[in-house]
Point group: C2
Chain length 146, copies 2
């Protein structure tokens, strides 16, 4: 069982505690918030990026495929009517490295999306999802410890 | 369109940027992480708490119902097989205040769950969800500015 708590901090702000880590949630000024932290709904996209990102780096490690860097972007298109949910989600994996094994990287991403990532499975119930993998051999000097 | 980015920081850690706010995501040591931040999946529960919490406080404000405090707990029961998603979610709203208008508070929570909260709508597709409201007239001296 996973448990989290969120305490109201006035106006639209909540302070969440998840496994000892704090996250301040807030809304934009136009709906009475002060933008002190992320809005709740985009956290779904953050959860998705983290879930599939961790799948991919751990699968690539098992496959002994080396990459220098991985950057994940997620765009979500909200529905027009209440309840407002993401009706389309687009994931972009930017993989950096030299002589990348594209076949295995594609396999790792596919395994995450189709089998392992429970956040993706959840969002897929309401959102049309697709993903793209972009490869780059640009040097990543500051993150050479990856 | 909502957009977020998450950059790999080595091992299982990712740094997400959502509307200028940073969130470090990480995994537990047993799967190669260092617990530097929340795990991705419980962020779904955080998003749910924030989404419904903001609905409830703004609905109560419109209804001119005063409360002193609101604490939301969310428990999620993961599925046994991959993909691991939340198959059951239990929300608890702890509402504090004097002479609380329980009927209107119940209505605000119901409107959030059944009509407004897009995170709830999304999770309901895969999870059996239920909620409970607990009332307390305990004084909340340190949060009297609510």
């Amino acid at each position: 069982m996973n448990e989290i708590k969120a305490n109201w901090k006035g106006n639209m702000s909540f302070e969440a505690n998840v496994d000892g880590h704090k996250i301040i949630l807030d809304a934009d000024a136009e709906v009475g918030g002060q933008n002190q932290g992320p809005k709740p709904k985009p956290l779904l996209l953050v959860a998705l990026a983290g879930c599939t990102g961790m799948d991919v780096v751990s699968l690539l490690k098992k496959m002994r495929v080396k990459i220098d860097d991985l950057q994940i972007s997620v765009a979500g298109e909200p529905s027009e009517e209440h309840p407002i949910y993401y009706k389309k989600v687009k994931l972009t994996y930017l993989v950096k490295g030299q002589d990348l094994d594209k076949e295995k990287i594609e396999k790792a991403v596919r395994l995450s999306q189709e089998r392992y990532c429970g956040v993706s499975y959840t969002l897929q119930q309401v959102a049309e999802m697709d993903y793209e993998i972009i490869y780059s051999n640009e040097e990543v000097p500051t993150q050479a410890t990856h």
